[in-house]
Structures are given as structure tokens and as C-alpha cells.
Symmetry: none
Subunit: 196 residues, 4 copies
């Protein structure tokens, strides 16, 4: 169905949407996510403010559309890596993802806020990344030299919890990447350590 080529109207719509995304990314590159203003985006895209809101329900939806693809590209990378054989390797694999999530407090907050969904139908693109994260790390934990007394899903949940914890703590202190990795390593060793 819908085999006919896209109508002109649809292609115009897509073009406008692309312009808006592109403008947003350009703003983010310059000023960061938190500083993004709808006003600036539309002026850069050369469209009216109202147009923005006929493409994105609200600014938050745009934010999701900007952040989720980046999370997914990091997950793509991570997926392509060989299964890690140690906690240190896990942490190294996750490093780029961590760096992105902690690039701005605001980004961390947006991601946390969208990390779940009130209902199945409302699962947004960021929440999906969390699912995907579990899908990616579960097998690692199942296959590696880690605890076997609890399910890989639970292990992955814990990994997530410690990941969040580590990043949250680091917004407080100096926000040091090295420190963050070391701390996460400690947590994960304790969490994943095989129970004899």
C-alpha cells in the first residue's frame, strides 16, 4: 500500500523537518543542548515558529530526536565490538557513551527523564535505547566471567544502576572522566564478581 511515489507535499514536509533538525544540530554544535532555543532554530531553518510545532509536539520531542540517534550510534559502535571479557573492558566499551551522556548536565537530565515510559505505547526513542542497552549488555554478562547466580537481565539492570550512579556523582565533583571510569570499575567488579 502507498506504493505511489511520495507526493510533493510529503516531500516538502520532509524537507522542512530536515531543515529543522539540521538547524538544531548546528545550534547544539555551537552552544550545546541546554542553550537550544526554538526561536534560534526556526530562524536558522528559515521557517516560522508555528511550523516548528507542527513538526514536533513540543521542544522535548525535538530533544529526543536529537539525542536518541546519537545514543543509538554509540550503541551501534558498542555492538560491533567483541564481547568484553572483563569489567575493565566493559568500562572501556562504554566510555564513549558515558562521555556523551555526561557532556552536559542537561543532556543527562533529559535522558533520565525519558528513560522509561508510563505505558507501552509511549515508549520514546530514548527509552528504547535503554531497552537496547539491556539487549547489548545482557549477553556480555551472560557470556563473560561474571556472576551466574542471577539472570543476565538483572545483571544488566544493575550495570545500568551503577552507570547512572557513577554519572550522577560525577556531576557533583570535578566531573573527571578518569575518576568516573575508575569508580564504575569498582562498582562493576563488586556487582559482577562471581559468587565463588
Amino acid at each position: 500500500m502507498q506504493s505511489r511515489p511520495m507526493s510533493k507535499v510529503q516531500s516538502r514536509t520532509l524537507k522542512t523537518r530536515a531543515k529543522l533538525i539540521e538547524a538544531s544540530e548546528s545550534v547544539v554544535k555551537t552552544d550545546g543542548y541546554e542553550a537550544l532555543r526554538v526561536e534560534q532554530v526556526v530562524s536558522l531553518a528559515g521557517v516560522a515558529k508555528g511550523t516548528f510545532f507542527s513538526h514536533f509536539k513540543d521542544k522535548d520531542v525535538l530533544m529526543e530526536q536529537l539525542i536518541a540517534p546519537r545514543l543509538n550510534s554509540y550503541l551501534d559502535e558498542i555492538e560491533s565490538l567483541p564481547t568484553p571479557e572483563s569489567v575493565e573492558e566493559i568500562v572501556r566499551h562504554l566510555q564513549p557513551l558515558i562521555a556523551f551522556i555526561t557532556c552536559e548536565r542537561y543532556v543527562f537530565d533529559v535522558i533520565l527523564r525519558h528513560s522509561g515510559a508510563a505505558a507501552k505505547e509511549e515508549i520514546g526513542p530514548i527509552a528504547e535505547c535503554f531497552f537496547r542497552m539491556g539487549m547489548v549488555t545482557g549477553p556480555w554478562l551472560a557470556m563473560g566471567p561474571f556472576r551466574k547466580d542471577i539472570s543476565p537481565e538483572l545483571l544488566a539492570d544493575g550495570l545500568g544502576a551503577f552507570l547512572i550512579q557513577t554519572m550522577a556523582l560525577n556531576f557533583c565533583a570535578l566531573h573527571n572522566e578518569r575518576a568516573m571510569q575508575d569508580q564504575l570499575t569498582i562498582y562493576l567488579k563488586a556487582w559482577l564478581q562471581p559468587t565463588v
Copy 2:
């Protein structure tokens, strides 16, 4: 009789501050934290707006001053309880604190936002509660029938991580207290289980 030269001045300041806090708490009791309006607070306190801002740098600082004491009072309660002997008991002990933190998404966000400090000197009252949390739960974990292969501090950190994780996840879904407790129990059992 000149022994407390500044006490008059201080007491006026303290009295005004108390009026503002009291008014704020009254507003919160009625309408919740998120609904608090500076304008309403000052009018209730019978104080000028300028006065408000000479007592609290901004609304957020007031929020901290409202929330931290409540956290501390829950911690007082928790501290006064007998050392828990099982995960279930821990969860039960923490229940009132969890209920408060999750009473409003807004409260949870404020707490998270103030959970740390950029520098030692900037440790705010909410960040201090996090320290205190560790001081309170550490001994529990050290004394109870839990893992002994890692330090109580690390155990307490993990407890914190799973606590946050549980609460964050529950804002997404239905925000069910029962579910939250169950989930936390599962996490903690996995985390605290002795590694014989």
C-alpha cells in the same frame, strides 16, 4: 547586659527567615512543592519580595531549605530504628524516605539536582543527606547477614544506586509504591547476597 550585642539583629533576621520558611511550608502542605510561588510565599509571610531574595538567592535555594530538613527527619527516624536483619527489613525501613522522595516528580528532580557539589565548600544541605545516608546504612550492611567481601561503604553506595534506579524507573511506569518496594528488594537481594 551588653553580652550579646548582635543577638537582636540576628534574631530579627532569623525571625523573618522563619516566617518565610513557615509560609513556604504552609503553601507546600496545601499545593505541593512544584506549585510553590515566591509571590504567594511573601504575601503569606507578610514580607516584601526583596526580603525574600535577600534571604534566598533564588527559589531553588528555598526549595533546598525546605526539602533537606524533611530528608533529615526521615533519616533521624531511620537512625532510631533497630538495625535491620534482612533486605526486606531494609526496604521497610527506607519506605517513608522513598515515599517522600517520590511524592512529586519535581521533588525527586530537585533532590537529584542537589545530590552533589562541585566542591567541598559547596556541599549543600541535600548533598549532606546523601553522605548521611551512607553513614546510616553502612553499619546496617556491615552488621547484617550480608556480603562481607567488600567494604560497607561500597555496599552502601550500591544501595544508593539501586534506590535511585528504582525510583527513577517508577516515575516512568505507573509509580506504584508496592512495585517499587518489590523491585528494590530484588535488586538488594542480588547486591547484598553473601558470596559464600
Copy 3:
């Protein structure tokens, strides 16, 4: 029928602006210029505060837009009068203008403050009235029984100088209209007296 594509938009803007000006004038009529409050204007105009500030950079700009038209209408009147044949007649012609400018100290101050411009492009509506004043009085001075040894422009400048001086001095003293006219008459006689 698509011949005025932007007129709808413009007309809405113009209508809102007109509402604001009208409301302002109504406030001024009742309470005077100095007593004008932005809040009162917007509530009377039935318009949001944000709208006010998207029409006028600040209150001062509104003030200019209120005062300049009145100055211009006095200048219209003045222009329509027959060329004066004596200093007394000049003073009489200027009387309504003087009365308006000195109606409130605040008005006088606003007018003085906007009497010039930092650059040609920034000439505001009040500054333009000063130019126009020269255009109107120059011919009078050229045609009447006055000094001929210097240019009408210079004569007009001097007239302006004595006008300001007279009004400024009168804010100090009792602010008596009669006295103001007499003083101006003396000044102008001395200034405009033909040098035999």
C-alpha cells in the same frame, strides 16, 4: 484578491499597537505621564505584558511615541498660523507648545533626553520635532522685522536656546506661565533686535 498578502498580519499588529497607544493616552489623560505604569496600560489594553515589550523596547520608547505626536500637533498648529510680526506674537504662537512641554517636569526631561541622537540613523521622533521647530521658526525670523545680519538658521537656534533656558529656569522657581512668557519675550527681543 491576493494583492495585499501581508496586510492581515500588519493590521493585527497595528491594531494591537493602537490599543496600547490608546490605553496609554487614556492613562495619561487621567494621571499624567509620570504616573503611567506599564502594568496598567496592558491591563487597560487587554493585552499581555510580553506583547507590550514586543511593541516597545521599553517604557521610554512608548513615552516617545506618546509625546512626539503631541509635539507635532502643536507644530502643525503653529505652522498654520500667520507669520508673526513681532517677538510678542512669536511668544504667543509658541505658548501652547511651551505649556505642553512644561506641563510636567517629567515630560520636559523626557523631551530633553530625546532631543538629539547619537547618529543620523537614530534620530527619534522627538529629535525630529526639534528639526521641525527650526524649519518652522526659520522662515518667521527671516521674514519678520528681525536681525538680518545672521542666518535664519542661527536665529532659530538661538530661539531654541532661549526657549529651553526659559523653561528650565521656570521649573526651579514657581513655574509661572506668565513669568515664563515675559522672560522669553525679554530674551528674544534682545536676540532678535535688528542691529540697526
Copy 4:
């Protein structure tokens, strides 16, 4: 009468007042007149805000006490100069005074605002400078090669009017000292030119 040495209290009062004036001048030197804030002055002087207001009825009175002495010192200088013999010389003599008055728009405004008095008893220190200005320039105009058909007092008034006019106009345009002098010269030549 009052031949006894000043009491300690009086001397303390004078000392405090001196500290305030000194602090004010220091602020002015750094940031200019307009930027002067009572807060900064008292903190620099090391006294309480209330103390300021027991020495100066309001900030404006302080401003007068800062500006009038400077005007007077310029008038002292001017008075010590030989009687000018030409308009050019007059302008040259007045130059330092003009430079001071136009150093800030705010200073010009303060001076204008205090240039007169509502009643004899209220003649402030700045208004006195205007009187003194007349006393100084009157004899110049009486003795030099200028108009003799009108009184020196009237001539001096006119000089004042053109002086103000020149300074006012220069706040608009580029505020060029040279231009100001040239313009004043033109005005005064026209005003002071002997009527054959």
C-alpha cells in the same frame, strides 16, 4: 559664640562625613557619577547604610556636594584669568568648565536639575554656581568689546543659554569637544556682537 573646641562627637561626625565624601570620590573616579551606588559608598567608607542618610538627606544631596565643589574650583580658575577680550577668549576660558559638565550626560542632568531653586532659602550649592557664573561673566561682557545696548546681566543670561544649548546638542551628536567650542563661538559672536 561657640568658641569652645569642637566636641569629640562633632569631630567624629565630621570624620564620618569626610570618609563618606572620600569614598564617593573614589567611586566616581573609578566608575563615574552615574554608577555611584550608596551601597558601594558605605561599604568603602566602612559605615552602615543608615549612617549615610543621617549625613545626607538623600543621594542627590551627596551628588550636589560632589559636583558643586568641582564647579567652584573651575570658577576659581576662571576668575583668576584676565578679562577676555574676544568671544574666542571667552570660550577658551570656559573650556575646562564645559569639559567637566559634559563628562557624563548624568552630570549635565544633575546640574540642570539643580540649576535653580523653588525659593530663596532653597538655593543649593549648584544653583549658587549659576549665580556665581553670572557674577563672573557679567563684568567680562560689560568690559569687553561687546553689545552695550542691553544689560550685562541679560548678556550673561544669554551666554548661559547658549552654553546649555551647545552642551545639550553635543550629547546627541558625536560629543566632540572641538565642535562644541566652534558652535559656542558662533552662537556667542552672534549674541555678543555690538549692534553697530
